[in-house]
């Protein structure tokens, strides 16, 4: 960008991510407008407002110094763990599962915040871990504890999707921290063995059912398979260029469930077709490319792990959501970043983006580490 014609304060902004984000959010708002039957104020308005609010929050996060991140990593993690325990207790008292705390002015879902939280604390852990120890059990054991507490609490809720998202973020950080490859291969092999066992002994009935229906959606077309079937119909009937804005019958006639949250991609694909879908994929690709580029250019080990971990957390959201709506993964309640209507996921994703923006700023401010 020719800086001479643009004020420095504006030119300094990370447009490489802001422009794709704005494109995605605006597109999301348009889709939500249609999903609400042409009523902008139903979902689109709050969608855009939240984006603005959380964008400001991300800008503020981006201005925080690295020192603060390092110092706050463990306390933030501790507070989040406490909140998770609190949620569990309240849920236990109230009877039934509860995932959120009512703070009066908003409902807080600690497990959502734990997704960036786990990345932050593990990035800190590996940055303080002596380099020589990375190949020993001392690199694994504390990390396993740090992951085990929140993942266990979330799975207890039970919220399998969020539990997997937290674990995925943690494993990515451990992988990038340079832990021996054979551990991951070994864990992968063990996972292959354990998965069937977990399926039969650990999963709740409704979770097991979801997996079974995923494998054969037509077996239960009006029950659990309904979501997947209707979502595939919406995407498939859209064709190459879609039915046109506002003409999606699947969403407008309520055949597609959760058309504005988890299945917003299907709503979009019905009206915008495959081209709309490719547009979304390309925008996400731009965002992830930016995230990983920031991570590669980061000045030190902490910020590198932090940026890469945050990027992969967002990626996990997108990946699981899109696989779910296209019938490649079981139905888990994970929304599509920046397109689904919902405050919690918007906040989480904007925290991730803010953190990556902060890393980008650190690398611009400080000289690149020689190592």
């Amino acid at each position: 960008m020719p800086r001479a014609y643009v004020p420095a304060a504006i030119a300094r902004q990370p447009w490489g991510v802001l422009l794709p984000l704005m494109a995605l959010v605006s597109f999301g708002a348009a889709v939500l407008d249609s999903a609400a039957g042409g009523r902008f104020e139903t979902w689109s308005m709050s969608h855009l407002l939240r984006f603005v609010v959380f964008l400001i929050m991300a800008m503020v996060i981006a201005r925080l110094p690295q020192e603060l991140f390092r110092k706050m990593a463990l306390p933030v993690y501790g507070v989040l763990c406490l909140l998770l325990v609190l949620v569990e207790l309240i849920g236990g008292i109230g009877g039934g599962s509860q995932r959120w705390l009512n703070l009066g002015f908003m409902t807080l879902q600690p497990s959502e915040l734990m997704k960036p939280g786990i990345v932050l604390v593990l990035a800190w852990f590996y940055s303080v871990l002596p380099i020589g120890e990375t190949q020993s059990w001392r690199a694994l054991f504390p990390a396993a504890v740090l992951l085990g507490i929140p993942a266990g609490l979330v799975m207890l809720q039970p919220d399998l999707g969020t539990g997997l998202a937290i674990s995925f973020g943690a494993v990515v950080v451990m992988f990038l921290a340079g832990l021996p490859l054979r551990w991951f291969l070994g864990a992968g092999a063990a996972g292959l063995v354990a998965a069937p066992l977990a399926f039969f002994f650990l999963l709740h009935d409704y979770q097991r059912n979801r997996v079974l229906v995923f494998l054969d959606p037509e077996s239960d077309p009006l029950g659990t398979g309904y979501h997947i079937t209707q979502s595939k119909i919406a995407i498939g009937s859209g064709g190459l260029i879609g039915k046109g804005f506002g003409n999606g019958s699947q969403s407008h006639l309520n055949y597609l469930p959760e058309s504005h949250t988890d299945f917003v991609f299907a709503t979009m694909a019905e009206e915008w077709g495959m081209l709309g879908g490719l547009f979304v994929l390309v925008v996400f690709w731009l965002i992830f490319r930016w995230g990983l580029k920031v991570a590669r250019n980061a000045p030190d080990r902490f910020s590198r792990l932090l940026a890469a971990g945050m990027t992969m957390t967002i990626f996990f959201y997108m990946c699981i959501n899109l696989m779910m709506v296209m019938g490649l993964a079981p139905v888990v309640g994970i929304p599509l970043p920046w397109m689904s209507h919902g405050g919690s996921s918007m906040m989480t994703n904007m925290i991730c983006v803010g953190t990556i923006m902060a890393v980008e700023r650190w690398s611009r401010a400080g000289p690149r580490s020689l190592s």
């Binding site: 919406a234 690709w285 990983l292």
Partner: protein, 692 residues
């Protein structure tokens, strides 16, 4: 070995970059996978999913077709359709049946017994099988339900057509009735039309037999509907194709007259065109009102019909079996003539005939004196027939009976006719493993013993004797039917029998009161009184209704140029005196409707109104007595069919062989020895009262 080397920051950075690249590649791979999947769904399988989306979006509502009309020979409607407003319930969609029914009962002002009926049906109904709440609603009530729809899920108000039988009960057994398809019907046909609210299928009679022809092709309304079934907009409507009409040989006026004229009795009247076989009237009374049956049968109505000893649910024309009594005598006489007997051959009747060591009585114990064939018929002398039947033999008589239609099943569009028995030696040996005895012949010649016939067969017999043609009963109008061929009887013989039968009515016979009040038209007939139980139980004239004699009369007119034949059977009427006045008035109606109607209206005043009024009064007294607490719940469709069948079982044939002579019950009119006017019999006006 890398593990042995001290790990440095540089190595870790290097490793980070390589692994970041791996993750990037992973992202790219996933991205490509997603893009490929997207292309597969949206492009490769586009057609399949587009079809699925369309079938989601577009909701096809069937419009029940208008049913074909049933017409009489002049084009008058026996069954028609009329536009009405109706309200149905879809059991699966009703959230709170009690609350919904309470609201509907208020809006439609339903009586409590009707509400109980609907609740019963609602509990029994499966899935989407609609339950009718009310039909023939006026606009105000219909509108009242329509505006409350949002709080009444599962309630479907619609305008459509309902079946209407202008003559009501008079055509109940003739036409049958319609009703909502049962689960069984749906299992059989799997047609979504069957579970469309407001659609009715034929349940009985012609409505059932000609279902395919009457049904028509449903119309369809295409609408865009949400997943929860709310209609967003109309996409188009295809009109229904009404079913084809059926034209019957029936004369609607005559049918109605005949049914009404039966009055308080339990009986049947069949009128045929004896040249063509066209059935002009075929009434069985008492009957049910097909209009109210088609709306579903209420508990009070069911109680009323099922507890009636006059079995209103049995079509007595086809399923009633009776010993024909003396009405077989013209047939027996014809067999004598055809066998070569001289009609002038006489026998002396002294009130009985000794056969072997037993005396067979004539109905007239005082005797008829010298009796030839004509006198044997018009005085109904039993001894004449006892004597010559032994001479001619049972085989000839039985052959003639079958030739004239007795014991025969006719191709009529009704299931399960009872065709009775014409006994002969071979039959008895087959059935009871016993030799034919003389008393069997004696019994058979006076229409008692094993002989059982239905009223239609009697009408056919009368027609064949009248015209000498081999007429078959026809119910479907065919104006181009070829002329019916002759039976091959000698016209001389027929004329002889006709003259004797005319004498029954117009001369010295047993039914002088049956003369019809029309100039130049003479009626010829034959009375019959059939015993139900032995004289040791009851005398057949009075006492318990079910022990009284059956009354028969067969006739035709005009006597010299036969055109119309008629058979009347009055169950337990106490003798032929209950039957021939009805036949007389019905035949009068054909030639002089005004005169006949005047007589009928006089009777109906005494009977307490016409059929509808009497049924309504009876219903009200039942409703007042039992109300919604009618103990017997309304049977569901399958049960109903079974119970109706049950009600229709004909009188059982004798299970054991009869070993005695039937004592002939006396004919009602005292025989008039001279041409003088017959002495006044019991006035016809009081005769029907015996039935109650």
């Amino acid at each position: 070995m890398r593990q042995k080397l001290p790990v440095t920051s540089a190595i870790l950075t290097n490793r980070f970059e390589r692994r970041t690249f791996v993750l990037g590649a992973l992202q790219g791979g996933v991205g490509l996978l997603l893009a490929a999947r997207l292309g597969y769904l949206a492009v490769a399988q586009n057609e399949k999913y587009q079809a699925a989306s369309e079938s989601n979006r577009v909701n096809l509502t069937l419009i029940p077709p208008r049913r074909g009309w049933v017409l009489d020979r002049f084009g008058n409607a026996l069954a028609a359709n009329r536009a009405d407003f109706r309200v149905d319930l879809i059991p699966d969609r009703v959230d709170d049946p009690d609350k919904t029914m309470a609201t509907l009962a208020g809006l439609l002002s339903l009586p409590p017994d009707k509400v109980r009926d609907i609740r019963d049906k609602l509990d029994k109904a499966r899935g989407f099988q609609p339950v009718e709440v009310a039909s023939s609603l006026d606009w105000d009530k219909f509108a009242a339900v329509s505006v409350r729809l949002p709080e009444l899920p599962g309630v479907i108000p619609q305008r459509g057509y309902s079946r209407y039988y202008p003559a009501g009960a008079s055509v109940g057994h003739l036409v049958g009735y319609v009703g909502a398809a049962s689960a069984e019907d749906y299992e059989k046909e799997r047609n979504p039309l069957l579970i469309t609210p407001g659609f009715k299928i034929g349940k009985d009679g012609l409505e059932k037999h000609f279902e395919a022809r009457l049904r028509g092709v449903p119309g369809a309304r295409r609408v865009e509907a949400t997943a929860s079934g709310r209609i967003v907009r109309d996409l188009g409507t295809r009109e229904d194709v009404p079913g084809k009409p059926i034209a019957l040989t029936i004369n609607a006026g005559l049918q109605d007259y005949a049914a009404r004229r039966i009055g308080l009795e339990s009986g049947s009247v069949v009128v045929m065109d004896c040249e063509t076989g066209d059935i002009l009237a075929m009434a069985s009374m008492p009957s049910f009102d097909p209009n109210s049956f088609s709306d579903g049968i209420g508990r009070v109505e069911w109680k009323m019909l099922s507890e009636d000893d006059h079995v209103p649910l049995r079509n007595k024309v086809l399923r009633g079996l009776y010993p024909p009594g003396s009405t077989v005598k013209p047939m027996v006489a014809l067999s004598f003539l055809e066998a070569g007997l001289d009609p002038n051959a006489s026998v002396g009747c002294a009130g009985g005939l000794r056969v072997g060591n037993r005396v067979f009585h004539c109905w007239n114990r005082r005797g008829h004196g010298s009796v030839d064939m004509a006198k044997g018929i018009y005085q109904s002398c039993d001894v004449y027939f006892y004597h010559f039947a032994q001479q001619i033999g049972m085989d000839k008589i039985a052959a003639m009976a079958r030739r004239l239609g007795l014991g025969q099943e006719f191709p009529m569009p009704y299931p399960g006719q009872s065709y009775g028995t014409v006994p002969d030696p071979a039959w008895k040996l087959r059935k009871y493993k016993k030799e034919w005895a003389v008393y069997d012949t004696v019994n058979a010649t006076i229409g008692q013993g094993y002989m059982l016939v239905n009223p239609l067969q009697q009408a056919v017999m009368a027609s064949r004797i009248a015209s000498g043609r081999q007429v078959m009963p026809k119910l479907l109008l065919d104006r181009n039917a070829p002329p019916v061929k002759s039976m091959g009887f000698s016209q001389e013989h027929l004329d002889y029998i006709h003259a004797a039968m005319s004498e029954v009515v117009n001369g010295r016979g047993t039914a002088g009161k049956a003369r019809i009040p029309v100039d130049n038209v003479l009626l010829a007939g034959k009375t019959g009184t059939a015993q139900v139980v032995g004289l040791n139980i009851a005398n057949g004239k009075s006492g318990a209704w079910k022990y009284r004699d059956h009354g028969h009369f067969i006739c035709f007119a005009p006597f010299d140029k036969p055109k119309y034949a008629c058979a009347v059977v009055i169950e337990h009427g106490g003798g032929s005196g209950a039957a021939y006045p009805i036949a007389r008035d019905v035949m009068t109606y054909i030639f002089a409707p005004d005169k006949a109607m005047a007589v009928l209206e006089e009777f109906e005043k005494q009977w307490g109104g016409n059929v509808q009024q009497r049924m309504a009064a009876r219903y009200n007294s039942f409703a007042a007595k039992y109300g919604e607490s009618a103990p017997k719940p309304v049977p569901d469709d399958e049960d109903l069919t079974e119970q109706v069948e049950e009600g229709r079982k004909p009188a059982e044939e004798p299970a054991t062989a009869q070993t005695d002579a039937a004592a002939p019950p006396p004919e009602p009119e005292q025989p008039a020895p001279a041409v003088a006017a017959p002495p006044p019999p019991a006035p016809p006006a009081t005769a029907p009262a015996g039935g109650q």
